[in-house]
Symmetry: C3
Subunit: 283 residues, 3 copies
């Protein structure tokens, strides 16, 4: 039995696994979480009985805050991936293609790479009152790199994908539902019961038939692996431009990646910082 | 003039045909209905004046219940189709490509193959109070085979397609509209008038321009014929696995395919049966 | 500095341009407007600092009424386009691919080619009370030719695209939002402030990152240039059939292209005219 430090794994039944993110203070996705999620994926792929994997969070304010950009990239060295993919891209591709049905139960914030992890799962339910989704990356000088460009385009359509991506704003549960960013926003007081009943129901169905459904829907809807690879490459390239570190310096100074008002209202916050306050950007 | 036994055909005008399903007790799609629908398609394709075909039901509780799985497969032998296609796949492909605009006016239940017939028409209007749509097949051990995997993926997007397909649940008119499963849910007291006015209006427009619209929207949105063929093949393959007959035996015993509580609440019902109650399924 | 006669161009900042349509009496898209918009596109493409271009209207009843079909086609001769494209198709293709984010702020009517211009921009916000969108072309004997067939298919899905296109009806802001025809319908009293704040916010973000977003979302969502070319070709072919001039004669007689009840309620109006009142159309 593998021991995980960034989340707990509960086998509610042989066919229903619950993964509860628990990486204080705000559920950042760090290198260790990524490695552990890849290990979890291997467990899922090898198991013959898991039909449903439900992802939720121990922190009602943060589902997954975002990527831990302050972490040491060297920590990811040595992680084996197919075709030299970035581990995060690898994780998402394998998650989407796993035979199990994956569900994100989103209470609290799911932004940046946290939103992208949720987008890589099959189904997203959101707490109407507590869920906040967003791709704030434009506010710190980059396009998202973990799949949001490709997946939002297909999921919510061109126009709403543009709005989410170029505004970097927060989307509450209700608007996220209207846009198709999540399947449904459920009133928070019914949220846990609704999601649990849904997951339990699906986990009792025939696993071969569930795998058939995944195979056909995947063939009809998944972006090409290569375009996901191009996305992450573009992200790291933008990180080398001057705006990226300049904006991150200001964000960290204000409280980025810490529990507090900046992370609670990150969508609003990124609208207040400028790479170079004395001049307009040029292309 | 062909005589039909599973539905009535009314030519409200040369350019507006109404097809009213009437196959008691619950509008099952049996071999005879399939053959008659294929004959109807030939009539539509040969006619030079039909612009709109409106499908509705004589039974306010059932638009089309689902496929009559208890029927004798031999009854479909000898039905000529292109490239050895299953007659149901053939029907849907020809329906989508016919120059006439096809509209499903859904009051009552449209599940399984009944939902898939509606998905193969161009436009779906639903009674807000009376319509119930669903793909319950996962509950009887199979992925749908009549186009739902391909068509829902394109129509409602990856995440909501997964939810509909892996839950097997019923979706009422209001939720079906929010998900894009139907165009709109119309209050039942306005439903007939709304649909009739819409169909009449469209049927008076220029037929060549309507055919242009169908051609371009088809090119942009239709799934490939081969992927629809693969879907039905996967369905019949799943029917040979043990879970399929085991679940159907329990369903028939409880009232499946009969008028009564099981068929009225089939989404809930399939959540109560297990292929092998003593063990969890394996893949 | 180019002088424009069909719209005003205001540079609110180096990275935020506002284009206000102003072509009385009802903001028809005539040959001059098309030429000026192509010139504007060249300005946008050459500028290194424009991040957002916001399109709105000086007329609260008309965003862009539709194409000025009564204009002399010779006025467009000599307009240089790639690969012999129609200028309108050229305009839309270049608009979609420009590195700047384009936003339509729709108050009043956007129908036919006016709706198609809005569909070629990246984001559409609509006044809940004042916006009216539609593709009325079917009512005058043609399928739309300026991108609506391809773009609506991708944006709102097969079924709702069919409904919009074959009905030719008007869609108010609220229904346009439910269908995804616009991003959101905003209460009119908040509309200007909302759109301005959105555009200003986006215009201050890193222009290279905005261009990255456009590149990836374009790759995932844009229709092929050739299918847009086929659409306009089909339109002009339909204009040579008898129904097209017959229906336009009746429309012009009733007040088409003039300020008045026909243009205010064009969706309803086109349901009242017939190409040949004495016979049903044939295909």
């Amino acid at each position: 039995m593998t021991t995980y430090t960034r989340f707990t794994l509960t086998r509610s039944s042989p066919s229903l696994w619950r993964v509860t993110f628990d990486n204080p203070p705000i559920n950042l996705i760090d290198a260790m979480m990524m490695k552990e999620l890849l290990t979890l994926l291997t467990e899922i792929e090898r198991d013959k009985r898991v039909g449903v994997v439900l992802f939720d969070s121990a922190d009602p304010d943060f589902f997954l805050a975002h990527y831990d950009i302050a972490g040491d990239p060297a920590e990811l060295e040595g992680v084996e991936t197919a075709a030299g993919r970035h581990p995060f891209t690898e994780l998402h591709i394998r998650l989407s293609k796993s035979p199990a049905v994956t569900i994100s139960a989103i209470r609290g914030r799911a932004r940046g790479a946290g939103s992208e992890f949720a987008l890589a799962t099959d189904i997203r339910f959101a707490s109407r009152e507590r869920a906040v989704l967003g791709q704030f990356e434009i506010g710190v000088g980059a396009a998202p790199g973990g799949g949001a460009l490709n997946r939002l385009s297909r999921l919510v359509g061109r126009a709403r994908a543009f709005e989410i991506l170029v505004s970097g704003q927060d989307f509450d549960g209700e608007l996220a539902e209207r846009y198709g960013y999540v399947n449904r926003a459920i009133p928070d007081e019914q949220f846990v019961d609704f999601v649990d009943a849904f997951a339990r129901r699906v986990s009792r169905f025939d696993l071969l038939a569930l795998a058939d459904i995944k195979r056909f829907v995947n063939a009809a809807t998944l972006p090409a692996d290569e375009s996901l690879g191009a996305e992450i490459d573009a992200f790291w390239k933008s990180a080398e431009r001057p705006a990226f570190p300049a904006l991150h310096r200001q964000a960290f100074k204000a409280g980025y990646s810490q529990r507090g008002p900046v992370e609670l209202n990150l969508g609003d916050f990124v609208g207040t910082i400028l790479a170079d306050p004395d001049s307009y950007p040029t292309r």
